[in-house]
Symmetry: D3
Subunit: 331 residues, 6 copies
Amino acid sequence: MKGIAFYKEGEHVRDYLLIKTVTRGTASNGKPFLTIVLQDKSGDIESKLWGCTPEDESNYVSGAVVLAEGDIMSYRGRNQFKIRTIRLADEHDSVKKSELVMAAPLSIEALDEKITQYLFEIKNPVIQRLTRALLKKHHREFYEYPAAASIHHNFLSGLAYHVCCMLDMAKAVAKLYPEVNCDLLYAGIILHDMGKLKELSGVTSTSYTLPGNLLGHISIMIDEIGKVAGEMGMAEKEEVLLLQHMVLSHHENPEWGSPKPPLFKEAEILHILDDMDAKMNIMTRAIRKTRPGEFSERVFALNNRSLYRPSFDRDDGDESSAFPSSIEDKQ
Amino acid sequence: MKGIAFYKEGEHVRDYLLIKTVTRGTASNGKPFLTIVLQDKSGDIESKLWGCTPEDESNYVSGAVVLAEGDIMSYRGRNQFKIRTIRLADEHDSVKKSELVMAAPLSIEALDEKITQYLFEIKNPVIQRLTRALLKKHHREFYEYPAAASIHHNFLSGLAYHVCCMLDMAKAVAKLYPEVNCDLLYAGIILHDMGKLKELSGVTSTSYTLPGNLLGHISIMIDEIGKVAGEMGMAEKEEVLLLQHMVLSHHENPEWGSPKPPLFKEAEILHILDDMDAKMNIMTRAIRKTRPGEFSERVFALNNRSLYRPSFDRDDGDESSAFPSSIEDKQ
Amino acid sequence: MKGIAFYKEGEHVRDYLLIKTVTRGTASNGKPFLTIVLQDKSGDIESKLWGCTPEDESNYVSGAVVLAEGDIMSYRGRNQFKIRTIRLADEHDSVKKSELVMAAPLSIEALDEKITQYLFEIKNPVIQRLTRALLKKHHREFYEYPAAASIHHNFLSGLAYHVCCMLDMAKAVAKLYPEVNCDLLYAGIILHDMGKLKELSGVTSTSYTLPGNLLGHISIMIDEIGKVAGEMGMAEKEEVLLLQHMVLSHHENPEWGSPKPPLFKEAEILHILDDMDAKMNIMTRAIRKTRPGEFSERVFALNNRSLYRPSFDRDDGDESSAFPSSIEDKQ
Amino acid sequence: MKGIAFYKEGEHVRDYLLIKTVTRGTASNGKPFLTIVLQDKSGDIESKLWGCTPEDESNYVSGAVVLAEGDIMSYRGRNQFKIRTIRLADEHDSVKKSELVMAAPLSIEALDEKITQYLFEIKNPVIQRLTRALLKKHHREFYEYPAAASIHHNFLSGLAYHVCCMLDMAKAVAKLYPEVNCDLLYAGIILHDMGKLKELSGVTSTSYTLPGNLLGHISIMIDEIGKVAGEMGMAEKEEVLLLQHMVLSHHENPEWGSPKPPLFKEAEILHILDDMDAKMNIMTRAIRKTRPGEFSERVFALNNRSLYRPSFDRDDGDESSAFPSSIEDKQ
Amino acid sequence: MKGIAFYKEGEHVRDYLLIKTVTRGTASNGKPFLTIVLQDKSGDIESKLWGCTPEDESNYVSGAVVLAEGDIMSYRGRNQFKIRTIRLADEHDSVKKSELVMAAPLSIEALDEKITQYLFEIKNPVIQRLTRALLKKHHREFYEYPAAASIHHNFLSGLAYHVCCMLDMAKAVAKLYPEVNCDLLYAGIILHDMGKLKELSGVTSTSYTLPGNLLGHISIMIDEIGKVAGEMGMAEKEEVLLLQHMVLSHHENPEWGSPKPPLFKEAEILHILDDMDAKMNIMTRAIRKTRPGEFSERVFALNNRSLYRPSFDRDDGDESSAFPSSIEDKQ
Amino acid sequence: MKGIAFYKEGEHVRDYLLIKTVTRGTASNGKPFLTIVLQDKSGDIESKLWGCTPEDESNYVSGAVVLAEGDIMSYRGRNQFKIRTIRLADEHDSVKKSELVMAAPLSIEALDEKITQYLFEIKNPVIQRLTRALLKKHHREFYEYPAAASIHHNFLSGLAYHVCCMLDMAKAVAKLYPEVNCDLLYAGIILHDMGKLKELSGVTSTSYTLPGNLLGHISIMIDEIGKVAGEMGMAEKEEVLLLQHMVLSHHENPEWGSPKPPLFKEAEILHILDDMDAKMNIMTRAIRKTRPGEFSERVFALNNRSLYRPSFDRDDGDESSAFPSSIEDKQ
């Protein structure tokens, strides 16, 4: 199966898909229609069901698995799924809901093991103990949450996977620039987005919580680091302050949410790797939907850029994996 | 005594003054000179001592009281004190150091009483208890610190005095717009700048601390509110989150240090009153140094504006008080 | 009656309402529909009448009173009235058009009396005479016009009511900061938006006039003050220049229409109080439509912010009054 | 004589010059020095007189004519005159002060005649009468004032000369784009900077007046056009409003002082020609001081650009005329 | 014939028109409709054909000539043609397709002759030879291309016509400011937009090419000038560098595509004339569609300004010519 | 030897140093002084020689080797060398000039070998041949030039060393994100700053050339790639266009000199790695001069940030190597 996210304009689709969200609207002729976002493990796509019946409305709800058939069209520069036929999957269909959920290419166990290895490499005891404590406190959510509500790594275990990719890059950076303090860098990477566990409502149908709206994940995490360090009797340690600063400054400038810019090397590297990994994730997904020699749909999270796929780029391997990275689950 | 801050260009001065800071420089002829900031309770002024001797350097140090005589000149649009003669005050001079320290027009006791009254008016028990606890924890510094290192209310008890002025305005605002929640507004005002107690190094020769440089007073206070609320078992209360938001948003926009804008009425009013009281303090001080019918020196904290003093403005009352506000100490 | 502006999503409505504006559109099925803005004295709401007949078009015109029944829905984050049934009110319906017009909570007489009192307090004869002359020249429009076409205080006598609220706040400010010149401040407040009487087309269906489009209310008022002062032989008085400056600078910065920033205290205070009163009016109206514990619709005039209503905010009193302020008409 | 403004770095000077301004400073060795701006009719240059005596201070005052000898040096990218010898000119020196004043290349009579011709070409009676009345009211100052305090056309009759150059360009533009309304365009050009007659203090030692500081020349002129039109009973004419708009919008955007952008063709052309003529004046003067194949000093009024003079540019003709334009006085 | 671009809201139309583009859409009732852009030599207008049949879809294609009848309406502030009846033109209709194509008012021969004359006036041999070579290399496209895909001079020979207008203005500028180097100025004007021949896909249905998207016309032309100069053995000539700089800087600032601002007079004039000619073209077209005393539709390319047409502007001559300029073809 | 760049405030120095630049100034007492920039292979530092004699002026010239003794002081937040004694080195001093020149930690041969290896890994023949040809054409300068006149990698072979560091990081990135096209990425890195060979005047006393000022290194390289590709008959290859785009976009946004943002993955990565390597070089050098627990001097190239060096950072290893990277010369 190719994956719904990677079909290109004009292609025909007949796939089992999971309904992610449904919104009811009224057309200008007064009749109701449904805007259905359909997903499989490759990503999601929007579709419209015009002139829907009350039966349709009760059938096609968030979480339902359907068999849909139709064509990929382009609407205002974005792909849309024009449904020709749709029906609920039933017991005769050999499809499992869990197979349609978008998830990181590494299992939770693999991610946990990888991050734990990096944790072992942290030598400074204050940094090690604090990071370990925070990771333990939020263990379950940390390995399940997406990294963002919609922009990048928005899939099951997206946050932990994003952290893993950044840690691997960090290791390469530290090798090239040996004066880098790996303790700070690894811990900063592990903690930088942990505030999202309180900012976002959950793993699916992710929205912003009240603390998310009023404080944002950065301030939430400043508070959280302070509290846990306080409980461990380490509130006055410089290391705690440095980690709080790394979280505070990782968006680099005030307009993007960081009241302070990075003020030491490791904070700067954290920002650069966060930015690079997010961009690689976004770009790879956009390019996968684009034919060689063509421009992608406009990508809002990249300042509305439309990306070019070189005409000599090989197109064959796309379907084999939904993920850009080589860090894959071998277990 | 007129007050060193309120002399105008061309006036002659002969006053006891306290040395606030001294910096040694080397002139382009290779000789040393001292840049001395002199103060009395009205404010401060910069002066230069050219061709200083080693004796001068050991005499004129921060904290020394001197008798200086000279003229007020204008240098690059700012007043400067051109010293003709200067000597250390000795036991024969009837001047006390404490009389030369710039301080709020209300005593610490009066400020404490006033703020305590407002605290009593807070009815919501979570807000009341949390605000009271934070005030108690930082009691001594809260009533001694300036409100800023250099921009506004930079004098003994400046922070508490700034809070008092804002509370009085808040009462008037709440009377005019009755849907305002006074509990949130009063508590937000009391707490909004409390993070400065950790951001700034102290009451005199104020500089930025390491937490001040790496986090800033806003993030410091988010952390502090969180910790104290946690210790009181109120971490999950919505009121705590709202107070954290008020602190977070009180500079209104990211460029000025607030990652979130005010998201409810009381947060917005807090921002407006903070801004207005700071501006009134800055403007009044600039106008005091200006003759009717003339423009003031440029004021950096007001986007470098040069303020006009109307020609029909009365000039007589300036000397009577160094302070703009009617809230004066009657005790 | 609750007031159409204060219904929340999901509530049922059956009320007499006044048609404010009607626009005819063509749906994508080629059929006509009407976009009707309905109002009562609490505010207004948009509704759609799909598949309208020629008879509907001739019945439902601006100024007609109707009895409408339906539900409040949310469309793109804003409330909309989904009409189920609608009919013209006739002589059997006990409803008066004047009861459905949105107006200030104070009568014109009360507003006039209040402003006249402040005018009496102005001691400077140039300021007093000029302000009185301008007020007299535009007397009728001044007490009837809204303060803006759509953003804030957009109701009958909105401009005069906005001025009254600002004058009351100004009195409190002047009490706290006694060096403020009340003559300038009161006169500046009375005159600051008077140019809107020429910028806007009228009390209802308010649009921009040719002078409004080509000059704007600020430049219109610079011209108007100059002309009237000239006719009174006071053209060369500094007071006239200061009042012109207060009008010129009251939007504070070039992007918002003020080529000069406020250059004296009273001009700065005028700007702050104008801003605060407008924001309070906008915020109060947005919060009234929002349930405790929820976020309001996005408010364009507040940089698209969505405001939070604390969950412990009382909701009961909203219906009693459509106005945020305590300045109410006791006559 | 070459003209002091057109000497290049390294050249030797021995010329009669007029002292434009003198400022006294104190060097870091405590000794006084004078900063003297020297001018002739080509422009001006800054010089320093180190270690000046009291006699120097009383001799070298604004308005004095001196014979100075020295070298042109470059200081922070700008030319400076390093004085070797300087003395007051006396009766034996055959030099007249009037020959050293920088002035337009056309006499006042020639400028008046030229502008009067354009005035005759205006056919619309409202525009003609109003422009004529305003020109008559300010006749003397209009033909003597500079166009700006320091940026461009800052010489005797600079304003009128700037207007003449723009009128000639306007004629060419109108020929190419025949739908342009010449009445509006010519009148707009004549009036656009007339407010500077009240904004600036006078022809020499030009500074900003109180109306200049508080309103600026644009708002001053809105007021002035309104008043004169009112006195002529034409206050309600659309033509008056259009001319006020042209003045209001001629700086094009709010940051540069125009609250409204140009809203009709003639207002747009006025802006473009004003901008082009000012830039040509500034650029020509900067290039005159620069050798072919080199870059000029940085020009603040051109966003600090440093201009290149092509190496194949002829250098010989510079001395013949201090002015860029072909509009020269043949009388 | 009036020209489809110059009809005003409310007017009735019955004209032969050429279909420029057709887009198929699906209405919210599920039925197809066509968005047809119709043109004649005056310009173009959008129309909708609701409920189109398969026959309609095969008839009304890009390039077809139709006879359409209907009314001009206003939709979101822009004119739209509401079609009542439409049919394909056949052999009985006396209309030629070439008469419906929008083109410059000068023939290709006339444009060529005019530009060749200016080329003769260039005296510097390097500039002359290089400009001539580039013009010869791209001769056919240069005289056929539009000056932009949609913003200004978007018609047959639009680029060459834009160049001609600029050359005529340049001649007037050079006369007024005699130090201008006409060789550089004329050559810069001829070459400034030549990169558009590679940036845009062609004369009709103009879109961006791959080099257009990845480099843009400015960088394309830097490359092209370099290559041709290299082939002519003039790569190291300063003149070549100056012409490359003129192309590079003609959009004036980085945000608009020029990494360097104009650094000599001729580069600055090139920018100003380019800007003025484009604006005149855009403004004249917008005003032609507007009645005297009214505001035009909003013009995106002018920062969304809505232009005013003075009420005393004559309306009669509009129909006679679709072009703003006096440079018309007399041959 | 510690290296002049890594002394900290208050330390005493007695070292052989090379004079990099000398500027003569006149102090405000009228006496001459020299501003001498002294360097060794660790970097450079500014010093002042007050009251210099004519003999000093002829001795201390650019390129001379001296023995200087004095103290490190801080002036306006930057280190300065206060010279106590200075004399020219003579034949008795065992110091070689070449030992005092700041250079990359890898020899030219080592850099060449490393880059040649990466060149071998490029498989696409167009990209390989073009890159090889450009590298060959500029071989000598490419391995000698600094990467910038003053900001980062401003030392002998700085450009080639910067390219090597980026290539190593690129290899790590490509391993993590396997869809990256290494051919484009490696070639883009090698070529991205090659235009600096024409933009900058040379290896020492580096200034901007005429092409550097008028076009900048980005446009110079667009031209250069185009020319060489043309000569090789590959002008129309898509690969050439993609490499030109990578050069064009590598500063990411218009304000920083890139008219187009990166439009494919490899262009984006090039920008990120360029930015990261430059920042690491700048930061490491600033931190080396700073004591643990203190803030560095303000760094202009980092938006004037002052960097913090954690108090637990080891300080001992700094002197062993002047370079941040592990890529060191083992030959």
